[in-house]
Amino acid sequence: MARTVWNSTVGKKTVMAVSGLVMLLYLVAHMIGNLKIFFGAGEFNHYAHWLRTVGEPFMHYEWTLWLIRVVLVVAVIAHAVSAYQLSRRDIKARPSKYVHRKPRASYATRTMRWGGIILALFIVWHLLDLTTGTVHSGGFETGKPYQNVVDTFSTWYGNTIYVVAMIAVGLHIRHGFWSAAQTLGVGSRTRDRALKTTANALALLLTAGFLAVPVGVMTGVVS
Protein backbone atom coordinates (compact mmCIF):
# COMPACT_ATOMS: atom_id res chain seq x y z
CA MET A 1 0.00 0.00 0.00
CA ALA A 2 2.88 2.39 0.80
CA ARG A 3 4.12 1.87 -2.78
CA THR A 4 0.72 2.67 -4.28
CA VAL A 5 0.53 5.84 -2.22
CA TRP A 6 4.04 7.06 -2.97
CA ASN A 7 3.85 6.26 -6.70
CA SER A 8 0.59 8.09 -7.30
CA THR A 9 0.07 11.83 -7.68
CA VAL A 10 -3.03 11.52 -5.51
CA GLY A 11 -1.13 9.48 -2.91
CA LYS A 12 1.85 11.82 -2.79
CA LYS A 13 -0.53 14.71 -2.34
CA THR A 14 -2.00 12.82 0.62
CA VAL A 15 1.48 12.59 2.13
CA MET A 16 1.75 16.37 1.69
CA ALA A 17 -1.61 16.98 3.29
CA VAL A 18 -0.97 14.75 6.32
CA SER A 19 2.58 16.02 6.91
CA GLY A 20 1.33 19.59 6.42
CA LEU A 21 -1.39 19.11 9.01
CA VAL A 22 1.12 17.59 11.47
CA MET A 23 3.30 20.68 11.05
CA LEU A 24 0.26 22.93 11.35
CA LEU A 25 -0.70 21.31 14.65
CA TYR A 26 2.83 21.86 15.90
CA LEU A 27 2.83 25.48 14.75
CA VAL A 28 -0.34 26.23 16.73
CA ALA A 29 1.26 24.80 19.88
CA HIS A 30 4.54 26.60 19.15
CA MET A 31 2.76 29.92 18.66
CA ILE A 32 0.85 29.62 21.93
CA GLY A 33 4.07 28.70 23.74
CA ASN A 34 5.87 31.71 22.28
CA LEU A 35 3.29 34.10 23.71
CA LYS A 36 4.54 33.22 27.22
CA ILE A 37 7.39 35.62 26.49
CA PHE A 38 5.00 38.44 27.43
CA PHE A 39 4.91 37.15 31.02
CA GLY A 40 8.62 37.69 31.60
CA ALA A 41 11.93 35.88 31.46
CA GLY A 42 11.15 33.68 34.45
CA GLU A 43 7.99 32.16 33.03
CA PHE A 44 9.36 31.83 29.48
CA ASN A 45 12.60 30.16 30.50
CA HIS A 46 10.74 27.93 32.89
CA TYR A 47 8.40 26.91 30.07
CA ALA A 48 11.41 26.06 27.89
CA HIS A 49 12.81 23.93 30.68
CA TRP A 50 9.46 22.20 31.14
CA LEU A 51 9.51 21.21 27.45
CA ARG A 52 12.53 19.07 28.32
CA THR A 53 10.96 17.40 31.29
CA VAL A 54 7.46 16.67 29.90
CA GLY A 55 6.36 13.12 30.54
CA GLU A 56 8.73 12.50 33.47
CA PRO A 57 9.10 10.22 35.28
CA PHE A 58 7.88 7.91 32.48
CA MET A 59 10.06 9.72 29.96
CA HIS A 60 13.68 10.55 30.61
CA TYR A 61 14.94 14.16 30.39
CA GLU A 62 14.34 15.49 26.79
CA TRP A 63 12.81 12.19 25.53
CA THR A 64 9.44 13.78 24.74
CA LEU A 65 11.13 16.72 23.08
CA TRP A 66 13.21 14.41 20.91
CA LEU A 67 10.14 12.38 20.00
CA ILE A 68 8.44 15.55 18.78
CA ARG A 69 11.58 16.54 16.92
CA VAL A 70 11.75 13.19 15.13
CA VAL A 71 8.09 13.39 14.10
CA LEU A 72 8.64 16.92 12.82
CA VAL A 73 11.79 16.05 10.88
CA VAL A 74 9.94 13.16 9.23
CA ALA A 75 7.03 15.49 8.42
CA VAL A 76 9.27 18.22 6.98
CA ILE A 77 11.24 15.77 4.83
CA ALA A 78 8.14 13.93 3.60
CA HIS A 79 6.46 17.25 2.81
CA ALA A 80 9.45 18.79 1.05
CA VAL A 81 10.32 15.67 -0.98
CA SER A 82 6.73 15.25 -2.16
CA ALA A 83 6.48 18.97 -2.94
CA TYR A 84 9.67 18.78 -4.97
CA GLN A 85 8.68 15.66 -6.88
CA LEU A 86 5.13 16.84 -7.59
CA SER A 87 6.32 20.26 -8.68
CA ARG A 88 8.90 18.72 -11.04
CA ARG A 89 6.17 16.58 -12.53
CA ASP A 90 3.78 19.53 -12.87
CA ILE A 91 6.35 21.65 -14.69
CA LYS A 92 7.15 18.76 -17.04
CA ALA A 93 3.45 18.24 -17.76
CA ARG A 94 3.11 21.81 -19.00
CA PRO A 95 6.41 22.56 -20.75
CA SER A 96 5.37 25.35 -23.13
CA LYS A 97 3.61 28.46 -21.94
CA TYR A 98 0.75 30.10 -23.75
CA VAL A 99 1.80 33.07 -25.84
CA HIS A 100 -1.20 34.92 -24.45
CA ARG A 101 -0.44 34.86 -20.72
CA LYS A 102 -2.94 34.90 -17.90
CA PRO A 103 -1.10 35.60 -14.67
CA ARG A 104 -3.93 34.53 -12.36
CA ALA A 105 -3.72 30.93 -13.58
CA SER A 106 -0.91 29.94 -11.28
CA TYR A 107 -1.23 32.32 -8.33
CA ALA A 108 -1.92 29.71 -5.65
CA THR A 109 0.57 27.23 -7.10
CA ARG A 110 3.33 29.83 -7.31
CA THR A 111 2.81 31.18 -3.81
CA MET A 112 2.84 27.62 -2.44
CA ARG A 113 6.13 26.84 -4.19
CA TRP A 114 7.93 30.09 -3.39
CA GLY A 115 6.40 30.19 0.06
CA GLY A 116 7.52 26.61 0.63
CA ILE A 117 11.10 27.40 -0.36
CA ILE A 118 11.09 30.47 1.92
CA LEU A 119 9.77 28.31 4.76
CA ALA A 120 12.41 25.61 4.20
CA LEU A 121 15.20 28.21 4.32
CA PHE A 122 13.61 29.81 7.36
CA ILE A 123 13.40 26.53 9.26
CA VAL A 124 17.16 26.00 8.76
CA TRP A 125 18.01 29.55 9.83
CA HIS A 126 15.62 29.43 12.78
CA LEU A 127 17.17 26.22 14.15
CA LEU A 128 20.72 27.53 13.69
CA ASP A 129 19.70 30.76 15.38
CA LEU A 130 17.62 29.78 18.40
CA THR A 131 18.17 26.04 18.87
CA THR A 132 21.88 25.53 18.25
CA GLY A 133 22.93 29.19 18.41
CA THR A 134 25.31 28.72 15.46
CA VAL A 135 24.27 31.91 13.66
CA HIS A 136 22.98 33.72 16.74
CA SER A 137 23.75 37.40 17.20
CA GLY A 138 25.38 38.18 20.52
CA GLY A 139 26.18 35.51 23.10
CA PHE A 140 23.86 32.52 22.75
CA GLU A 141 23.08 30.91 26.08
CA THR A 142 21.54 27.43 26.31
CA GLY A 143 18.64 27.44 28.73
CA LYS A 144 18.10 31.19 28.41
CA PRO A 145 15.71 31.38 25.44
CA TYR A 146 14.19 34.68 26.62
CA GLN A 147 17.50 36.49 26.29
CA ASN A 148 18.28 34.73 23.01
CA VAL A 149 14.94 35.77 21.49
CA VAL A 150 15.47 39.39 22.56
CA ASP A 151 18.95 39.32 20.93
CA THR A 152 17.55 37.98 17.64
CA PHE A 153 14.82 40.56 17.41
CA SER A 154 17.21 43.37 18.26
CA THR A 155 18.84 42.96 14.83
CA TRP A 156 17.27 44.31 11.64
CA TYR A 157 17.96 41.12 9.71
CA GLY A 158 16.53 38.92 12.46
CA ASN A 159 13.31 40.87 12.29
CA THR A 160 13.22 40.98 8.49
CA ILE A 161 13.77 37.24 8.02
CA TYR A 162 11.18 36.47 10.67
CA VAL A 163 8.50 38.82 9.36
CA VAL A 164 8.89 37.56 5.78
CA ALA A 165 8.74 33.95 6.95
CA MET A 166 5.62 34.50 9.07
CA ILE A 167 3.80 36.13 6.17
CA ALA A 168 4.85 33.13 4.08
CA VAL A 169 3.45 30.79 6.73
CA GLY A 170 0.14 32.62 6.68
CA LEU A 171 -0.18 32.46 2.89
CA HIS A 172 0.90 28.82 2.84
CA ILE A 173 -1.69 27.80 5.40
CA ARG A 174 -4.39 29.87 3.77
CA HIS A 175 -4.23 27.75 0.62
CA GLY A 176 -2.76 24.69 2.32
CA PHE A 177 -5.39 24.01 4.95
CA TRP A 178 -8.25 24.17 2.47
CA SER A 179 -6.23 22.15 -0.06
CA ALA A 180 -5.50 19.45 2.48
CA ALA A 181 -9.24 19.09 3.10
CA GLN A 182 -9.79 18.51 -0.63
CA THR A 183 -6.86 16.11 -0.86
CA LEU A 184 -8.16 14.07 2.05
CA GLY A 185 -11.63 14.05 0.50
CA VAL A 186 -13.41 15.85 3.32
CA GLY A 187 -14.25 19.02 1.37
CA SER A 188 -17.69 19.46 -0.15
CA ARG A 189 -19.83 22.18 -1.59
CA THR A 190 -21.69 22.72 1.68
CA ARG A 191 -18.49 22.73 3.73
CA ASP A 192 -16.50 24.92 1.38
CA ARG A 193 -17.21 28.23 3.08
CA ALA A 194 -16.54 26.87 6.53
CA LEU A 195 -13.24 25.38 5.39
CA LYS A 196 -12.14 28.59 3.69
CA THR A 197 -13.07 30.65 6.75
CA THR A 198 -11.16 28.26 9.02
CA ALA A 199 -8.16 28.42 6.71
CA ASN A 200 -8.18 32.22 6.76
CA ALA A 201 -8.66 32.35 10.53
CA LEU A 202 -5.83 29.88 11.15
CA ALA A 203 -3.53 31.77 8.82
CA LEU A 204 -4.30 35.10 10.44
CA LEU A 205 -4.05 33.72 13.96
CA LEU A 206 -0.67 32.08 13.35
CA THR A 207 0.87 35.02 11.52
CA ALA A 208 -0.37 37.54 14.10
CA GLY A 209 0.54 35.31 17.05
CA PHE A 210 4.06 34.65 15.80
CA LEU A 211 4.62 38.29 14.83
CA ALA A 212 3.56 39.51 18.26
CA VAL A 213 6.95 38.43 19.64
CA PRO A 214 9.28 40.47 17.37
CA VAL A 215 6.84 43.39 17.56
CA GLY A 216 6.98 43.09 21.35
CA VAL A 217 10.77 43.26 21.29
CA MET A 218 10.85 46.09 18.76
CA THR A 219 8.44 48.20 20.81
CA GLY A 220 10.29 47.47 24.04
CA VAL A 221 7.40 45.56 25.67
CA VAL A 222 9.76 42.59 25.82
CA SER A 223 13.38 43.41 26.65
Partner: protein
Protein backbone atom coordinates in the same frame (compact mmCIF):
# COMPACT_ATOMS: atom_id res chain seq x y z
CA UNK B 1 -16.50 42.87 -38.16
CA UNK B 2 -12.85 43.18 -39.00
CA UNK B 3 -10.42 41.21 -36.87
CA UNK B 4 -6.72 40.51 -36.55
CA UNK B 5 -5.98 36.89 -35.71
CA UNK B 6 -2.72 35.61 -34.34
CA UNK B 7 -2.86 31.85 -34.86
CA UNK B 8 -0.44 29.11 -33.81
CA UNK B 9 0.88 27.43 -36.95
CA UNK B 10 2.89 24.23 -36.68
CA UNK B 11 3.47 21.91 -39.67
CA UNK B 12 3.60 18.68 -37.70
CA UNK B 13 4.40 17.18 -34.31
CA UNK B 14 8.15 17.57 -34.74
CA UNK B 15 8.24 21.03 -36.31
CA UNK B 16 8.65 24.23 -34.32
CA UNK B 17 5.52 26.33 -34.26
CA UNK B 18 4.97 30.06 -34.17
CA UNK B 19 2.16 32.58 -34.15
CA UNK B 20 1.12 33.86 -37.61
CA UNK B 21 -0.94 37.00 -38.11
CA UNK B 22 -4.00 37.12 -40.39
CA UNK B 23 -6.65 39.75 -41.09
CA UNK B 24 -10.26 38.69 -41.58
CA UNK B 25 -13.04 40.99 -42.71
CA UNK B 26 -16.79 40.70 -43.17
CA UNK B 27 -17.29 38.60 -40.02
CA UNK B 28 -20.86 38.56 -38.73
CA UNK B 29 -21.32 38.83 -34.96
CA UNK B 30 -23.71 35.85 -35.26
CA UNK B 31 -21.02 33.55 -36.61
CA UNK B 32 -19.56 30.99 -34.29
CA UNK B 33 -15.84 31.12 -33.64
CA UNK B 34 -15.38 28.06 -35.83
CA UNK B 35 -17.35 29.65 -38.69
CA UNK B 36 -15.05 32.64 -38.41
CA UNK B 37 -12.07 30.25 -38.78
CA UNK B 38 -13.86 28.61 -41.75
CA UNK B 39 -14.00 32.06 -43.36
CA UNK B 40 -10.28 32.51 -42.77
CA UNK B 41 -9.57 29.05 -44.22
CA UNK B 42 -11.62 29.74 -47.36
CA UNK B 43 -9.48 32.80 -47.98
CA UNK B 44 -6.27 30.88 -47.27
CA UNK B 45 -7.28 28.10 -49.68
CA UNK B 46 -8.18 30.63 -52.41
CA UNK B 47 -4.80 32.28 -52.07
CA UNK B 48 -3.09 28.88 -52.25
CA UNK B 49 -2.02 28.74 -48.62
CA UNK B 50 -2.32 25.84 -46.17
CA UNK B 51 -5.58 26.21 -44.20
CA UNK B 52 -5.44 26.29 -40.38
CA UNK B 53 -6.06 22.80 -38.97
CA UNK B 54 -8.48 22.68 -36.02
CA UNK B 55 -10.69 19.99 -34.47
CA UNK B 56 -14.49 20.10 -34.65
CA UNK B 57 -17.36 17.71 -35.12
CA UNK B 58 -20.88 18.26 -33.80
CA UNK B 59 -20.73 22.06 -33.61
CA UNK B 60 -23.55 21.71 -31.08
CA UNK B 61 -21.49 21.74 -27.90
CA UNK B 62 -21.98 18.06 -27.14
CA UNK B 63 -19.12 16.07 -28.66
CA UNK B 64 -16.05 17.66 -27.10
CA UNK B 65 -14.05 17.73 -30.34
CA UNK B 66 -13.52 21.47 -30.61
CA UNK B 67 -10.77 23.04 -28.57
CA UNK B 68 -8.64 26.23 -28.89
CA UNK B 69 -7.20 28.53 -26.29
CA UNK B 70 -8.55 31.95 -27.24
CA UNK B 71 -6.86 34.98 -25.68
CA UNK B 72 -5.47 32.70 -23.00
CA UNK B 73 -8.81 31.10 -22.11
CA UNK B 74 -9.69 27.52 -23.01
CA UNK B 75 -12.77 27.75 -25.30
CA UNK B 76 -12.52 31.55 -25.12
CA UNK B 77 -14.16 34.19 -22.96
CA UNK B 78 -17.59 32.56 -22.50
CA UNK B 79 -18.21 29.46 -20.46
CA UNK B 80 -19.07 27.25 -23.40
CA UNK B 81 -17.42 25.22 -26.14
CA UNK B 82 -15.62 27.00 -28.96
CA UNK B 83 -18.30 25.86 -31.44
CA UNK B 84 -20.91 27.60 -29.28
CA UNK B 85 -18.86 30.76 -28.84
CA UNK B 86 -20.14 33.56 -31.04
CA UNK B 87 -18.25 36.47 -32.52
CA UNK B 88 -20.52 38.92 -30.66
CA UNK B 89 -18.33 38.14 -27.64
CA UNK B 90 -15.60 40.15 -29.40
CA UNK B 91 -15.46 43.74 -30.61
CA UNK B 92 -14.84 45.00 -34.11
CA UNK B 93 -11.12 45.60 -34.59
CA UNK B 94 -10.02 43.15 -31.86
CA UNK B 95 -6.80 41.19 -32.05
CA UNK B 96 -7.47 37.58 -31.05
CA UNK B 97 -4.80 35.04 -30.08
CA UNK B 98 -5.64 31.42 -30.97
CA UNK B 99 -3.48 28.61 -29.61
CA UNK B 100 -3.75 24.84 -29.19
CA UNK B 101 -4.28 23.07 -25.84
CA UNK B 102 -0.85 22.93 -24.24
CA UNK B 103 0.19 19.92 -22.17
CA UNK B 104 2.91 17.35 -22.72
CA UNK B 105 0.25 14.62 -22.62
CA UNK B 106 -1.55 16.40 -25.50
CA UNK B 107 1.12 16.73 -28.21
CA UNK B 108 0.34 19.03 -31.14
CA UNK B 109 -0.47 17.10 -34.32
CA UNK B 110 -0.76 20.13 -36.59
CA UNK B 111 -1.55 23.81 -35.98
CA UNK B 112 -4.39 23.82 -33.44
CA UNK B 113 -5.02 20.06 -33.41
CA UNK B 114 -3.69 18.10 -30.46
CA UNK B 115 -3.68 14.38 -29.80
CA UNK B 116 -6.09 13.70 -26.95
CA UNK B 117 -5.92 9.90 -27.08
CA UNK B 118 -4.46 9.95 -23.55
CA UNK B 119 -8.08 10.55 -22.44
CA UNK B 120 -9.21 7.46 -24.35
CA UNK B 121 -6.63 5.37 -22.53
CA UNK B 122 -7.82 6.72 -19.17
CA UNK B 123 -11.35 5.65 -20.12
CA UNK B 124 -10.08 2.24 -21.24
CA UNK B 125 -8.48 1.80 -17.82
CA UNK B 126 -11.85 1.88 -16.03
CA UNK B 127 -14.39 4.29 -17.44
CA UNK B 128 -16.95 1.59 -18.18
CA UNK B 129 -19.18 -0.94 -16.43
CA UNK B 130 -18.90 -4.69 -16.91
CA UNK B 131 -22.57 -5.51 -16.31
CA UNK B 132 -24.17 -6.75 -19.54
CA UNK B 133 -26.50 -3.93 -20.65
CA UNK B 134 -28.49 -5.23 -23.60
CA UNK B 135 -31.66 -3.29 -24.34
CA UNK B 136 -32.89 -0.58 -21.98
CA UNK B 137 -33.90 -2.20 -18.66
CA UNK B 138 -37.19 -1.57 -16.89
CA UNK B 139 -36.78 1.80 -15.18
CA UNK B 140 -37.56 0.56 -11.67
CA UNK B 141 -35.39 -2.53 -11.81
CA UNK B 142 -32.43 -0.79 -10.18
CA UNK B 143 -33.55 2.03 -7.92
CA UNK B 144 -31.18 5.00 -7.73
CA UNK B 145 -31.79 7.65 -5.06
CA UNK B 146 -32.54 11.04 -6.61
CA UNK B 147 -29.49 12.85 -5.16
CA UNK B 148 -27.23 10.08 -6.52
CA UNK B 149 -28.87 10.28 -9.93
CA UNK B 150 -28.38 14.06 -9.97
CA UNK B 151 -24.75 13.66 -8.92
CA UNK B 152 -24.13 11.07 -11.64
CA UNK B 153 -25.81 13.25 -14.27
CA UNK B 154 -23.79 16.30 -13.29
CA UNK B 155 -20.56 14.38 -13.82
CA UNK B 156 -21.82 12.54 -16.89
CA UNK B 157 -22.00 15.92 -18.58
CA UNK B 158 -18.24 15.88 -19.17
CA UNK B 159 -17.66 15.75 -22.92
CA UNK B 160 -13.94 14.96 -22.67
CA UNK B 161 -12.86 18.14 -24.43
CA UNK B 162 -9.69 18.61 -22.38
CA UNK B 163 -10.21 22.29 -21.55
CA UNK B 164 -9.48 21.42 -17.92
CA UNK B 165 -6.01 20.15 -18.89
CA UNK B 166 -5.41 23.16 -21.13
CA UNK B 167 -6.32 25.60 -18.37
CA UNK B 168 -4.43 23.85 -15.56
CA UNK B 169 -1.04 25.39 -14.72
CA UNK B 170 0.18 21.82 -14.11
CA UNK B 171 -1.35 20.20 -17.19
CA UNK B 172 -3.37 17.95 -14.87
CA UNK B 173 -6.29 15.80 -16.02
CA UNK B 174 -7.85 15.53 -12.58
CA UNK B 175 -11.17 17.17 -13.43
CA UNK B 176 -11.80 14.95 -16.46
CA UNK B 177 -10.76 11.79 -14.61
CA UNK B 178 -12.75 12.67 -11.51
CA UNK B 179 -15.87 13.44 -13.56
CA UNK B 180 -15.72 9.99 -15.15
CA UNK B 181 -15.02 8.22 -11.86
CA UNK B 182 -17.71 10.03 -9.89
CA UNK B 183 -20.27 9.48 -12.62
CA UNK B 184 -19.95 5.68 -12.45
CA UNK B 185 -18.87 5.16 -8.84
CA UNK B 186 -22.05 6.64 -7.36
CA UNK B 187 -24.38 4.35 -9.35
CA UNK B 188 -25.27 0.75 -8.47
CA UNK B 189 -24.33 -0.22 -12.03
CA UNK B 190 -20.80 1.01 -11.41
CA UNK B 191 -20.43 -0.63 -7.99
CA UNK B 192 -18.66 -3.90 -8.98
CA UNK B 193 -15.63 -1.98 -10.29
CA UNK B 194 -15.82 0.85 -7.78
CA UNK B 195 -12.32 0.31 -6.36
CA UNK B 196 -10.44 -0.92 -9.42
CA UNK B 197 -11.95 1.89 -11.49
CA UNK B 198 -10.53 4.71 -9.39
CA UNK B 199 -7.17 3.04 -8.82
CA UNK B 200 -6.67 2.09 -12.48
CA UNK B 201 -7.90 5.36 -13.95
CA UNK B 202 -5.73 7.46 -11.62
CA UNK B 203 -2.73 5.21 -12.38
CA UNK B 204 -3.32 5.60 -16.12
CA UNK B 205 -3.69 9.36 -15.72
CA UNK B 206 -0.28 9.47 -14.02
CA UNK B 207 1.18 7.12 -16.63
CA UNK B 208 0.16 9.51 -19.42
CA UNK B 209 2.31 12.27 -17.94
CA UNK B 210 -0.40 14.62 -16.74
CA UNK B 211 0.56 16.82 -13.80
CA UNK B 212 -0.80 16.74 -10.26
CA UNK B 213 -3.49 18.88 -8.69
CA UNK B 214 -2.50 21.99 -6.74
CA UNK B 215 -6.14 23.05 -6.42
CA UNK B 216 -5.60 26.20 -8.41
CA UNK B 217 -9.18 25.79 -9.63
CA UNK B 218 -8.54 26.86 -13.22
CA UNK B 219 -10.01 23.63 -14.59
CA UNK B 220 -13.44 24.15 -13.10
CA UNK B 221 -13.47 27.77 -14.27
CA UNK B 222 -12.68 26.67 -17.83
CA UNK B 223 -14.96 23.62 -18.01
CA UNK B 224 -17.76 24.27 -20.51
CA UNK B 225 -19.96 21.75 -18.70
CA UNK B 226 -19.57 23.16 -15.21
CA UNK B 227 -17.91 20.11 -13.64
CA UNK B 228 -17.16 21.45 -10.14
CA UNK B 229 -13.77 21.48 -8.41
CA UNK B 230 -15.27 19.36 -5.62
CA UNK B 231 -15.39 16.58 -8.20
CA UNK B 232 -11.63 16.19 -7.60
CA UNK B 233 -12.26 16.06 -3.85
CA UNK B 234 -14.70 13.22 -4.51
CA UNK B 235 -12.14 11.34 -6.59
CA UNK B 236 -9.51 11.73 -3.85
CA UNK B 237 -11.99 10.32 -1.35
CA UNK B 238 -12.74 7.34 -3.61
CA UNK B 239 -9.03 6.78 -4.20
CA UNK B 240 -8.20 6.82 -0.50
CA UNK B 241 -11.10 4.47 0.23
CA UNK B 242 -10.02 2.03 -2.49
CA UNK B 243 -6.39 2.16 -1.37
CA UNK B 244 -7.35 1.42 2.24
CA UNK B 245 -9.53 -1.47 1.10
CA UNK B 246 -6.78 -2.89 -1.12
CA UNK B 247 -4.35 -2.61 1.79
CA UNK B 248 -6.63 -4.63 4.03
CA UNK B 249 -7.01 -7.44 1.56
Amino acid sequence: MKLTLRVWRQKNADADGAMSTYEVDGISPDMSFLEMLDTLNEELILSGEDPVAFDHDCREGICGACSLVINGDAHGPERTTTCQLHMRSFADGDTIDVEPWRASAFPVVKDLVVDRSAFDRIIEAGGYITAPTGSAPEAHATPVPKPDADFAFEHAECIGCGACVAACPNGAAMLFTSAKINHLNVLPQGAPERETRVLDMVAQMDEEGFGGCTLAGECATACPKGIPLTSITGMNKEWLRATRKAGRR
